[in-house]
């Protein structure tokens, strides 16, 4: 697990919005994900952007706005551990996609924070369905090491970077082999070369600057970006699916004392014991079960349950942008295929908070945490449930989106004027 508040160069800690409203939510079933567990008929107080109090008997502060949430369910805002929100508007429209580069050098220096768009039209669509935070991750274009990702909140453009960089991202397996010239062994070789160069560079910066050091395979800024990785200060996320690739990643992490996180791991259940023993967290996409390529043979909907049972720390990821909101459906499917309900909810709240080193501020309904709070009209993992209110860092989000405006424009097709005249009131 990452240590919260680890002081890293470039780490941005978002300040809370000023003048946030005081709100008390009453009468709800509160899934705190913390030491209080689930509280029936409980209350939660939001003050100054934070959770002030949670419990069965909590006094409402004077002047607080009360939200009667009887019969409703309250959880922390949901977290997508690997997303492209803010990086991709329309994948096929050149100019709106910034998650990857067509550059075959190792692009460790590439940082999504320089491209993120906190005003993306995708954000409200996902936010009104309970998603409040994500890891915006780079995807591999032509480079084995894709670059650095960031944790962002979806509560608006102000201070949207929660933690940047949060991790370095790389690929092994079929994609990694292709990027390295055609063999899995070449991919490992390229990563080792990158780490060796970064180590040498870190110890000989001065000599490098004066031209008194051997040539490196990487550029200076890429080497700089890798230094925290080889020091174990910045996690390295390796996407790998085949059991042997997972094992290769585990060996690499051991050799270089990397802070490894696995992503994908479709055959993870075959080596669950090894992953658990190495205490490596895994990001999974629960609904992917096709033998869609040779490294995915044996993929199963029971993968999350089997990994969980073996003691592996799991968080869920969507790997996408437009429908990252369906991460709750993914969590529900993990439950349908054997994962305990509480563990599945934790995999989109408290567990990613720990994996990404932000558990001091987010992930549970506990006093002192940022008030990312969602009120649901039913079981949050159920297909027919929706949020009735979403708070991000204490601010209530408007329950609107471009998609809902389209809906309202066209839900009745009669009328004398063309649809273009039906628009939201300012």
């Amino acid at each position: 697990m990452r240590k919260p508040l680890l002081l890293l160069a470039g780490l941005a800690l978002a300040a809370l919005p000023a003048a946030a409203e005081t709100v008390v939510i009453t009468g709800a079933t509160l899934h705190t994900l913390g030491s209080q567990g689930t509280i029936q008929n409980g209350s939660l107080v939001i003050e100054n952007g934070r959770i002030k109090a949670v419990g069965a008997n909590v006094a409402a502060p004077a002047g607080a706005r009360t939200i009667d949430a009887r019969g409703k369910v309250v959880t922390p805002g949901l977290f997508d551990s690997l997303s492209r929100i803010g990086l991709v508007e329309i994948g096929s429209v050149e100019g709106t996609a910034d998650a990857s580069v067509e550059d075959d050098r190792v692009t460790a220096g590439f940082n999504v924070a320089d491209a993120l768009n906190p005003r993306s039209a995708l954000i409200p669509v996902n936010r009104i369905e309970g998603l409040t935070r994500i890891v915006a991750a780079p995807s591999t274009g032509e480079s084995l090491i894709a670059g650095q990702g960031a944790v962002i909140h979806l509560g608006g453009p102000g201070d949207f970077l929660v933690r940047s960089p949060v991790a370095m991202f790389a690929r092994l397996g079929e994609a990694g082999a292709r990027l390295a010239g055609g063999s899995r062994a070449a991919a490992i070789l390229r990563l080792r070369e990158a780490f060796e160069d970064a180590k040498d560079y870190a110890a000989n910066r001065k000599a490098f600057d004066t031209g008194d050091r051997r040539e490196y395979a990487l550029s200076r800024l890429d080497l700089e970006a890798l230094i925290p990785v080889i020091r174990g200060e910045l996690p390295l996320v390796i996407e790998a699916n085949q059991a042997s690739d997972i094992e290769a990643a585990l060996r690499l992490a051991k050799d270089y004392k990397l802070d490894l996180i696995l992503a994908g791991a479709k055959q993870g259940w075959k080596v669950a014991g090894q992953i658990a023993a190495a205490k490596v967290p895994v990001l999974v996409t629960p609904m992917e079960n096709l033998p869609g390529d040779f490294e995915s043979i044996g993929a199963t909907l029971e993968n999350p349950a089997r990994l969980h049972k073996a003691g592996v720390t799991i968080a869920f990821m969507s790997g996408e942008a437009h429908n990252a909101r369906n991460i709750k459906q993914a969590a529900g499917n993990a439950v349908a295929y054997g994962m305990p309900w509480e563990a599945a909810l934790a995999a989109v709240t408290s567990v990613p908070a720990r994996i990404w080193g932000i558990s001091d501020r987010y992930g549970t309904l506990e006093p002192g945490k940022d008030a990312d709070v969602v009120i649901w009209d039913g079981d949050p993992l159920e297909l027919t449930s929706f949020p009735t209110a979403v708070f991000i860092r204490g601010k209530e989000m408007p329950m609107t989106s471009r998609q809902l405006e389209l809906r309202d424009r066209y839900k009745d097709l009669s009328g004398p004027m063309p649809p273009a005249y039906r628009k939201p009131q300012p």
Partner: protein, 502 residues
């Protein structure tokens, strides 16, 4: 067509018609080399003349039927014993919900449905307490078998992207029946599906509708009596594929010119056959039978009303243009597929009796999908249009019930009162209608095929799973009984529990 090819083809036809084979008829006929210079010659040997009189097809439609017979369904329901599912919540897909209901499956058919169904002697009783029963799920838009798993280049058999009009290709000739995606869909309650060519082309070829049964060949999966579909595609895909090669179509107007040019040829071909039919009827001595052309034969099949148009189209304005084209050439569009903007023209689609085969919530992955909304199904339903939730995905096909649940819930969030008995129709009788098999399956009504799913609970809950799946009365999938869980050849050694590393 050369003389030799023509004669062998005619011989094969004679065989199909049950006529005495000609001397040269034993070799299979290669596909017609339509449109070659040789095809312009029309040799008329006395032998040909005699054959026509004795049994050659007298019309274009008859010619199609005769040639299609070689590829006819050989599907036979797997033998089954009578089953009575009792005390379940039954969604019939006729609009009803029966609490504590029963469904009797006998001789491959639905024998009875209701609150009180007598158990015949010797029937296997399935206790449905706490469970839900629905018709088998039907996916009107699948590429299983033509884009099989693993999805490597060697399995890329869904787009004959060599020409913008390839009406001559048939999806069934790409279907790999060992695709391990079929049993995954079965475990999701899918009992039938339409498998389509991809959308690279303006006119991509014929679809095939299959029963989701493991078989050694596609013929043994083919849904008996199902009409063929013709895949057409609007918008970004064809113009990107061909525009990228600096050939037409490179624009949407190029797309439309391409469809129209194809239909002009199809109509001419149909007219040539009509002329021939007329001449034959009038007893003319040597009626001029047109040379066969596989591409135009399929197009004429649409114009004759035998083949259903299945039209990939995202944008509302393009769907309206496609309706114009259908009017120009006198054919009917059975369904718009994907139809991401169908909600904008729900009234027109209802008036034209065109189904919208849609995703619940895919949007934004390309510009023509930018306006996709979760309420698409609900708004269509509200205007009385035919709604089908389809998958177009080997993952999505496994949980179409969940997709429908999201679409239903979005409608209710908008203020509608959509219930499970409404939403089940989006997955069963409506897709059956959009692919032309609604007389045989798609609802729980006596006499229909016993394509039935027993769910562990409400199928619109994320936690429910298909427990038992019957196809024509045979239990082809049982979640609790490995003996009723098919494993395809490709997955032997990986999914059978004998692996060393499990």
């Amino acid at each position: 067509m050369t003389d030799r090819l023509r004669r062998t083809a005619l011989g094969a036809l004679a065989l199909l018609l049950g006529l005495a084979p000609l001397a040269c008829a034993s070799a299979p006929a290669p596909a017609s080399a339509a449109g070659t210079a040789e095809a312009k010659e029309k040799p008329k040997s006395p032998k040909n003349k005699k054959m026509r009189k004795e049994g050659m097809p007298a019309s274009g439609p008859e010619m199609r039927r005769v040639t299609e017979a070689a590829y006819a369904s050989t599907y036979k329901p797997i033998p089954s014993q009578p089953v009575l599912i009792r005390n379940a919540t039954v969604l019939t897909a006729t609009g009803d919900r029966i609490q504590g209901g029963s469904v009797l499956l006998r001789d491959g058919k639905i024998a009875a449905v209701g609150a009180n169904v007598e158990a015949p002697a010797g029937v296997t009783v399935v206790d449905g307490t706490g469970k839900w029963v629905t018709p088998g799920i039907i996916d009107a838009h699948s590429h299983l078998g033509v884009y099989a798993s693993p999805g490597v280049e060697a399995h890329s058999d869904g787009n004959e992207a060599t020409n913008p009009v390839t009406a001559e290709v048939w999806a069934e000739h790409s279907v790999w029946p060992q695709d391990p995606q079929f049993p995954l869909a079965l475990a999701g309650g899918v009992t039938a599906m339409q498998i389509l060519p991809g959308s690279a082309n303006l006119i991509g070829g014929r679809s095939v509708t299959v029963k989701n049964v493991p078989a050694r060949h596609v013929d043994a999966m083919k849904f008996p009596g199902a009409p063929y579909g013709l895949k057409m595609a609007c918008g970004e895909n064809p113009k990107r594929v061909y525009g990228g090669r600096n050939r037409s179509p490179a624009t949407r107007m190029g797309n439309v010119a391409g469809y129209r040019a194809a239909w002009i040829e199809g109509a001419q071909y149909r007219d040539q056959w009509r002329e021939y039919e007329e001449e034959s009827k009038n007893g003319e001595e040597d009626p001029d039978m047109p040379d066969r052309d596989l591409q135009k034969e399929t197009l004429a099949g649409v114009l004759d009303g035998d083949i259903l148009v299945q039209n990939h189209c995202y944008r509302a304005d393009e769907m309206l243009t496609m309706i114009d084209i259908a009017k120009e050439f006198g054919y009917k569009i059975a369904a718009f597929h994907h139809a991401v903007e169908a909600y904008k023209i729900a009234d027109v689609l209802a008036a034209n009796d065109i189904c919208s085969d849609i995703w619940a919530d895919w949007w934004g992955f390309k510009l023509e999908a930018w306006d996709g909304i979760r309420e698409n199904a609900a708004i269509l339903q509200k205007h009385g249009a035919c709604v089908v939730i389809h998958s177009d995905s080997a993952e999505g096909i496994q949980r179409l019930n969940q997709e429908a649940a999201k679409a239903m819930a979005a409608g209710n969030r908008m203020g509608m009162t959509l219930r499970e008995e409404d939403a089940i129709r989006w997955l069963t009788i409506n897709p059956a209608k959009s692919i032309g098999v609604d007389k045989q399956t798609g609802s729980l009504e006596p006499g229909k095929m016993a394509d039935v799913v027993v769910w562990s609970g409400n199928p619109f809950s994320v936690y429910s799973r298909a427990e038992k799946v019957y196809v024509d009365g045979a239990l082809l999938y049982d979640r609790n009984d490995p003996a009723h869980q098919p494993v395809m050849d490709f997955e032997l050694g990986h999914r059978t529990g004998n692996e060393v590393d499990q």
